[in-house]
Amino acid sequence: MSQELRHIRVKVNGQWYEADVEPRMLLVDLLRDVLGFTGVHIGCDTGHCGACTVIMDGRSVKSCMVLAVQADGSEIMTVEGLEKDGQLHPLQEAFWENHALQCGYCTPGQLMSAYFLLSRNPNPSEEEIRKAIEGNLCRCTGYVNIVKAIKAAALKMSSSKAG
């Protein structure tokens, strides 16, 4: 069966892009292979590891479980969108300071899940943090430092807002 290409527009990290894609193309492949956002990782390709997590219209989703055509007209944020003008995001700084990564493979997904959590719960409990990253597997660090880092970022972000 020949595949008709579909013309789509997506806004990634604040900038609009256009592409012609097969309906079966996954969002993760659009982001990585067509648009070059290789910070979005593929760990399992089956929806289980969370390495491919991005923010789509304000919500964290696994980009290997969404079709690129479904993102037509959507706003996407990838890990590349966290840093602004050479300044790391408080979450990135907190991951660094708390040794929340070893190989770094899961990190972009962890950051996106943490970003979604803090976007609607600026002061999460430890239980809420653990719940928020249950879809993100880390095979190196363990979760203790990741949880610590998210807590530290939350504190930093709320104190910088208050101050």
Binding site: M1, Q3, R24, D45, M65, V66
Partner: protein, 293 residues
């Protein structure tokens, strides 16, 4: 892993989606995609066309009508899980949503997709049966019918919806009277895994502390949600304490013949069923009496 090629439609009205469904042979509806896309990537399913329901706004709502709670089929789990109304009035449903998959799955997966998929280990089907929910099915041309949850689940991955014709468009939760409460419990290896055993209980308790009505429903132990009628009979009219809950659990799980698989043996599932039914009964009873949140 890529799905096999398919045609893609993204209708913006329900009527258009239903028309496409009836016209396109081999087409499938796409809801949250959290099961369907996985199956397509594995090439276990190769639909000729996908009819994406995500742009149909009229299918996404939570509203009250005459005491009933009406939920559009395309409402995502997260919205339901965050709803104070559901948390208050249908605690079993709230708990089942809280324990469903992970945040990314809850941000994408839909109540309609989950129920239509009818996975024997899914969280929501037993809850729907316990709550006496109604499913509204629609077909092209405006035809609608209401299916009771008890009749909706027919077999593993099989519902009463007519294939290639009907879509699930709404889930209706009846009002439960004052003095009602519910609970949902699930055992799984990791938090994001499907259940090994799960149970949903809903009951109404009179002012004298006697059970007026009780529904006890298990998942993951049979091809479709399993009404533990034996437990419901022991509960009828009774005042619940530890001993009575244990007797009800024993009666409700005596005839179970759960499957064995890589997750758990049949014996283990049956044993855990008995334990979870007892705990869920005690919790639902305490909630119905206003003793616990």
């Amino acid at each position: 892993m890529r799905p096999a090629p398919f045609e893609y439609y993204a209708p913006t009205s329900l009527e258009e989606a239903l028309r496409l469904l009836s016209e396109k042979e081999g087409a499938k509806l796409l809801a949250g995609g959290q099961s369907l896309l996985a199956l397509m990537k594995l090439r276990l399913l190769t639909p000729t066309a996908l009819i994406d329901l995500n742009r149909i706004r009229e299918l996404r709502y939570i509203k009250e009508e005459d005491g009933w709670l009406l939920i559009g089929a395309m409402t995502i789990y997260d919205e339901l899980e965050q709803s104070p109304l559901i948390r208050e009035r249908y605690p079993a449903l709230h708990e089942a949503l809280y324990r469903l998959g992970d945040q990314q799955v809850r941000n994408r997966g839909t109540i309609g997709g989950s129920l239509a998929h009818a996975d024997p280990s899914a969280n929501l089907p037993p809850v729907m049966v316990a709550l006496k929910a109604q499913m509204v099915a629609a077909r092209a041309g405006g035809g609608r019918r209401v299916i009771q949850a008890d009749d909706f689940f027919v077999d593993a991955f099989t519902t009463a919806l007519e294939p290639d014709k009907e879509a699930l468009v709404e889930v209706r939760l009846p009002p439960w009277p004052r003095g009602s409460g519910g609970a949902y419990m699930k055992l799984s290896k990791r938090e994001i895994d499907f259940s090994i055993v799960e149970v949903a209980v809903q009951m109404t308790v009179g002012d004298d502390g006697g059970v007026k009505e009780a529904r006890v429903v298990l998942g993951s132990v049979a091809p479709k949600p399993y009404r533990a009628v034996g437990a419901e009979e022991v509960l009828a009219g009774a005042k619940v304490d530890e001993g009575l809950a244990a007797r009800a659990a024993e009666a409700g799980t005596r005839d179970l013949e759960p499957p064995s698989d890589v997750q758990a043996s049949s014996w283990y599932r049956k044993e855990v069923s008995r334990v979870l039914v007892k705990r869920a009964i005690l919790k639902a009873y305490a909630r119905a009496r206003g003793m616990e949140q």
